[in-house]
Amino acid sequence: MTDAPNHREVVVTGMGVITPAGRGVADAWDGVRSAKPAAAIDQTLASEGAPVTLACRVPAFDADAELGRGASRRLDRFTHLALIAAFEALEQAGLRDATTGEPASQAVDWDRVGVLLGSGIGGAETWASEYASFHERGPARTSPMFIPKMLSNTAAGMISIRSGARGPNMTVNTACAAGASAIHLGRDLIRSGQADVVIVGGVEAGITTLAVSAFAQMGALSRNDDPTTASRPFDVARDGFVMGEGAGILVLESASHAQARGAVALARVAGCGASADAHHQTAPPEDGAGAVLAMRRALADAGVEPSAVGHVNAHGTSTPLNDAAEAGALGVVFGDHLGEVAVTSTKGVTGHLLGAAGAVEAVFAIQALRDGVIPPTAGLRDVDPAIPLDLVVGEARPVVGLTHALSNSFGFGGQNASLLFATA
C-alpha cells in the first residue's frame, strides 16, 4: 500500500452498535455468537393489528436521559440509535471523552472529520405518527419538527452537531445495502483526500405497523410464529425475514493519520465493491449476477484473490430468493475455494436491520477477524440442499489464520455492496 493521497490505506479505529443482539459491540458480539434469536412478539405491532407481530427490537433506552432533554421530542428514534452507536465508536477511537461525553477537541482536526451514514427509511415513526395526527387534527396542527425529525439525513447531521465534525457530511440510500454503501463512500472520502477521519455507518428504526404491513404484503416477511426459527437464513424452510432495527457506526481513518495520533487500528478496509442488478424493482436475478460483480469489485479493489477470503458474513436475509441467489453468486466468485469459506448470516439472531444491516454486519465481520471466531447462523436447522455453502451451524466456529472477511449487502432496486475487511 502507498501513502499517496489518492490511494491511502484506510483503517477502522472505533466501532459502536446498538442491535437486537445487544447494545455495544461486546454485548452484541456475545449475542450473535451465542446464536439466541432476538425475535419476539412486538406489543405495538400486536396491538395495532399488524399481519406479522414478530420483530427484533434493540434493548430499551431512555433517550432524554442519555441524549439530553428534548431528544425524545425533537429527534426520531433512528437518530437516537445513530447517536448511541456513534458515541461508543468515537469513544473507542479516542475522539470522545469517556467521562464528560465531550468531543476530544485536541485529538483531531474536526474540520477534517466527515460523516457518511446510510438509512433506508429515515424517521419512519415520525412519518407514521405525524401523518395520523394530520388526519385527526388537520394541517394547522402540523408540527414544525416533522421535517427536521423525519429527514433521513438528520442522523448524520446530529452526529456532526454533537461532535463538531465539519468535514463532508452526507447520507446515502441503497435500501438494505445503505450501511455498507456508506462505509464504501466514507472510505473514498479519505482516499480522495477530502477527510482524515470519516464517521460511517447505517441506521434504521422502521418497525412500524405501516412498514411491517407493507413488507408483509410483498411476501417478504416470515409468517413463521416461532421466534427461534422465524429468521432462518439458508434453511430449506425459510420463508422471509424478520424486521429488525439498530445502528452500526465505525470510525474510518487513513492509516497514517491513525498512526500519527497513536490510535489502534482494529482492522483494515481492504476493498469495497458496488454494483446494480439492472433486473427488477425488488427481486434479485436468480444467478445473483449483480452480487457477483459487487464481490469481485471488492476483491479487485483490494488486490486480493478469492482464496485469501476465509469468511463471508452473508446478506442472508432468510427470504427464499435472496439466499438462493447469494449462494449462487458465492459459488461463482469463489469457485473451487467455496468449501474453504465459512459463511454465516447473523440475521438469524438480529433479524434484518435494513439500512443498518451492512454496517452492523461489517462490525461482526471485523470481530470475527479479531477474535478468530465465526458466529453460527441462528435458526438454521436444515440447510437447503440446493445451497452448497460451508455454513456455520449450531455453535460458533473457531478459525485459525483468518486474514480476510467479506460482508455482503443487497438492497431493493438491485443495489449491491460488498466490503472486504482485513486484519490490521
Binding site: 439530553g68 432533554r69 428534548g70 421530542r73 396542527r141 408540527s143 414544525p144 419538527m145 427536521p148
Partner: protein, 80 residues
Amino acid sequence: MAQDHTTTLFAILTDTFAVPVDELTPSATFESLGLDSLDLVEITLILDEQLGVKLEDADLEDIVTLADAIAAIDAKQVLA
C-alpha cells in the same frame, strides 16, 4: 387570568417539553430552557388547541422570557 395562563404554559412546558418544574420561573428565557423558535411554534399550536389563542409570528418576535409569553397570551384573550 394571568395566573391561569401561567399555569397553562407551565403545564405545557412540563408535560410536552419535559422541563423540570424547578426551572419554571416567569423570568426564565425559552433559550435557557433549551427551547428554540421551532419549539415556540409548537407551543403556539398547543395554546391554540387548549385556549383558542392564536399567537402570530409578529407576537413571537417579542417573546424572550416565559413572562413575555404569558403577557402575549393575556393580551390576546383580552382582545378576544
